[in-house]
């Protein structure tokens, strides 16, 4: 399989669909380190990338993978890495570098059980808050999640587009179940896929200020070697890219980093609602758990319970508006998660209406079943 040439119905596993999505979005550089359950992404890209003129490299560790993809991105090539929990810990250092230098890149974390080596072949959702806050310092970041093979394809494309548009690293949180589930998906014709490429400077090199603000809050980005010689640093920098400690320049810069995400909120935040029109109870879920939740609300409906579901595709920035309206609409909300309650923290935080929140947490390395969620819906 190369990059899709026409709409095709294919049988893929989640990791394969992420590869297809990345290639369709224009990813031409991948650096990774072997890790279960993400290795298929590396393996398939090592075959696919050279076919389309791209580059695959296996680095010495995930710190290096992250450095390499930022380097490739600074040289103008869309790039990605894929890993799981232990590797995700290692990428955090250079993830911060991508945030502060506004280097577009996509990081896939196929979540497995933790902490530490944990449960390498089992499913979990324990890295949600780490994806948001893992690297040090206040930093803007986008975190997306996938619940199906089809979403692995579409969300990966979206991840690249958001990354290029907002010049921010985008994390895709997959999990072991989605990664290894095989489903048939329809891959659209490449010409039907919307691909966004970073905006390059239109001014002559001598006028170029690599970190100058504009109405989008996202500076135009020149690639290394394109004649726009400039400095890139992990130090807080002024609009010319040089280190600064001037309080005014520091504040302006950091505020812009955050506000570019706020400005793009409506485009970045993605949720899906099911049977919410008349729902008086709902399940808020993400990742593979959303599949169980979908089944649970159908079964609940069959028993006359007015159940709905909100699936969070974007986890951060947190989809506050949608969650808030679900909380206001429903008398109770069930939050099933394969962790001790990471997104439920966020939901508690925005629960202005004081709606009853029921957490359902499973951390034994197995997927939450529809029945577990259904029980809560029945017992309300």
């Amino acid at each position: 399989m190369g990059v899709s040439e026409g709409p095709r119905k294919v049988l893929l596993q989640g990791n394969e669909a992420i590869v297809q999505g990345a290639l369709a979005a224009g990813c031409r550089f991948f650096a990774g380190y072997p890790i279960t359950p993400a290795s298929e992404i590396s393996e398939i890209l090592s075959v696919q990338l050279p076919l389309v003129g791209g580059t695959f490299i296996q680095m010495e560790d995930e710190i290096a993978s992250m450095g390499a993809i930022i380097g490739a991105s600074l040289a103008g090539v869309k790039s990605m890495t894929a890993t799981s929990g232990p590797g995700f810990s290692l990428i955090q250092e250079n993830l911060g570098y991508a945030c502060i230098t506004e280097a577009p890149c996509v990081i896939v974390n196929v979540m497995r059980g933790g902490p530490s080596t944990g449960l390498p072949t089992n499913v979990a959702q324990g890295d949600v808050l780490m994806a948001r806050w893992g690297t040090h310092g206040d930093h803007p970041i986008i975190v997306l999640s996938v619940s199906s093979v089809s979403e692995c394809f579409s969300v990966t494309i979206k991840a690249f587009n958001l990354s290029e548009k907002f010049r921010v690293p985008v994390i895709i949180l997959s999990d072991e179940v989605v990664a290894h589930t095989r489903e048939s998906v329809v891959l659209p014709n490449q010409s039907e896929i919307q691909v966004f490429d970073r905006i390059t400077p239109s001014v002559p090199p001598e006028w170029y200020k690599p970190y100058a603000d504009n109405n989008r809050g996202v500076p135009d980005m020149a690639a290394m070697g394109d004649g726009y010689r400039h400095h890139v640093t992990g130090l807080v920098h002024d609009e010319r890219g040089f280190p600064t400690q001037q309080p005014k320049e520091v504040e302006q810069f950091l505020n812009r980093l955050h506000s570019k995400i706020t400005k793009g909120f409506s485009e970045i935040v993605m949720t899906k609602s099911f049977d919410m029109e008349d729902a008086d109870v709902c399940v808020i879920a993400y990742g593979s758990v959303a599949r169980s939740a979908m089944r649970a609300i159908k079964d609940a409906r069959a028993q006359g319970i007015k159940a709905g579901m909100v699936q969070l595709v974007t986890l951060f920035p947190f989809p506050r508006k949608v969650v808030d309206s679900a909380l206001r609409q429903c008398k109770a909300v069930i939050i099933p998660e394969m962790n001790m309650g990471q997104i439920s923290r966020e939901i508690h935080r925005v629960n202005q209406a004081g709606t009853r929140i029921i957490k359902h947490n499973r951390i034994d390395g197995h997927l939450i079943t529809p029945n577990e969620i259904l029980k809560h819906l029945i017992n309300l």
């Binding site: 399989m1 190369g2 095709r8 119905k9 294919v10 049988l11 893929l12 031409r28 550089f29 650096a31 075959v47 050279p50 076919l51 003129g53 580059t55 490299i57 680095m59 010495e60 560790d61 710190i63 290096a64 993978s65 992250m66 450095g67 390499a68 993809i69 930022i70 380097g71 490739a72 991105s73 600074l74 040289a75 103008g76 090539v77 790039s79 250092e93 250079n94 570098y97 048939s184 690639a223 290394m224 070697g225 394109d226 004649g227 010689r229 400039h230 400095h231 890139v232 640093t233 992990g234 130090l235 010319r240 040089f242 280190p243």
Partner: protein, 294 residues
């Protein structure tokens, strides 16, 4: 001579920003920067095609001052970023500048793997035997018995020999110079940049403010002069006994070998992938095999 210095200053320094630099008076980093600029000037490399990446520490600030495509990366990771840049745009000349702690402590893994991998990159490692910027703690090249802010009773660990480490890790070109032998350094940096494959230049430099002061090695001039006293050309060092070499170190080219460069080897991978894809497509067409697809 003065004319050329002025020309290099005009052509390669970023005049509009951030001078004076952060380095202490007498620091060897300026000599390394000068040697690097003269090498690039001599090789007539267009500035747009040069990428200079550094890590963290005193050496990490070097790219800030020079007018190329410059990346001041995270501590020890310069080579990983350089790897990404080089593979994304192989036509660029990618050079990294690192310190001893930067390249061989926190970045040690990246360093040996970059050497093994043999991309067409150049690594310049300024070795001043200490972490200068953070206040003079012991580094992987702090000599046994030396004092530092974290070994006030004398250092109990043993030092890396950076150049020899690069040789055994598989670098194509390895040289060692000092900030005393500035012209020699310039020549070796030119050789390193021109070399196809991973090239390393270790530069013995002085941190009289931290390492020198604590170990009574004298001021900047005295330390730099000591490099003159203790440096022995590689060709001569080979004939000397271990006893004779005590307290001395060799300078010159330690290793210069030809081996496939992975930057170029990857083109072969791309061709192999194309050939395989064509073969599979033909097989499919012949047998009507439909894998994955309905």
């Amino acid at each position: 001579m003065l004319e050329r210095a002025e020309l290099i200053r005009q052509e390669y320094l970023r005049h509009d920003k951030k001078f004076p630099h952060v380095w202490c008076p007498g620091c060897g980093n300026g000599i390394v920067m000068n040697a690097l600029l003269r090498a690039i000037h001599h090789l007539e490399l267009p500035k747009d095609n040069v990428v200079l990446a550094s890590g963290i520490g005193c050496s990490g600030r070097l790219p800030t001052y020079v007018d190329f495509n410059t990346i001041h990366t995270t501590h020890g990771r310069a080579l990983t970023f350089a790897t990404g840049v080089k593979l994304a745009k192989p036509q660029l000349t990618v050079i990294t500048v690192m310190g001893d702690g930067d390249a061989t402590a926190i970045g040690g893994n990246h360093f040996i793997h970059a050497a093994r991998r043999n991309l067409n990159l150049t690594a310049i490692i300024i070795n001043n035997n200490t972490y200068g910027m953070t206040g003079g703690q012991y580094s992987p090249t702090t000599p046994y018995g030396s004092k530092s802010t974290t070994s006030v009773y004398g250092h109990v660990e043993h030092a890396f020999n950076i150049a020899e480490l690069a040789v055994v890790a598989g670098a194509s070109f390895v040289a060692r110079g000092t900030v005393y032998h500035a012209n020699h350094l310039n020549t070796m940096i030119q050789q390193a940049i021109t070399k196809r494959g991973f090239s390393v230049v270790e530069v013995i430099s002085n941190c009289h403010v931290q390492h020198g002061r604590r170990n009574k090695l004298g001021n900047a001039v005295q330390m730099i002069n000591s490099f003159k006293e203790n440096a022995v050309l590689v060709s001569k060092a080979e004939k000397m006994t271990a006893e004779e070499m005590k307290g001395k170190f060799s300078i010159g080219v330690l290793c210069d070998v030809e081996k496939p460069v992975s930057t170029e080897e990857y083109d072969r991978v791309r061709q192999a992938a194309q050939t395989e894809a064509i073969r599979i497509a033909e097989e499919k067409a012949k047998n009507g095999v439909k894998r994955y697809e309905e």
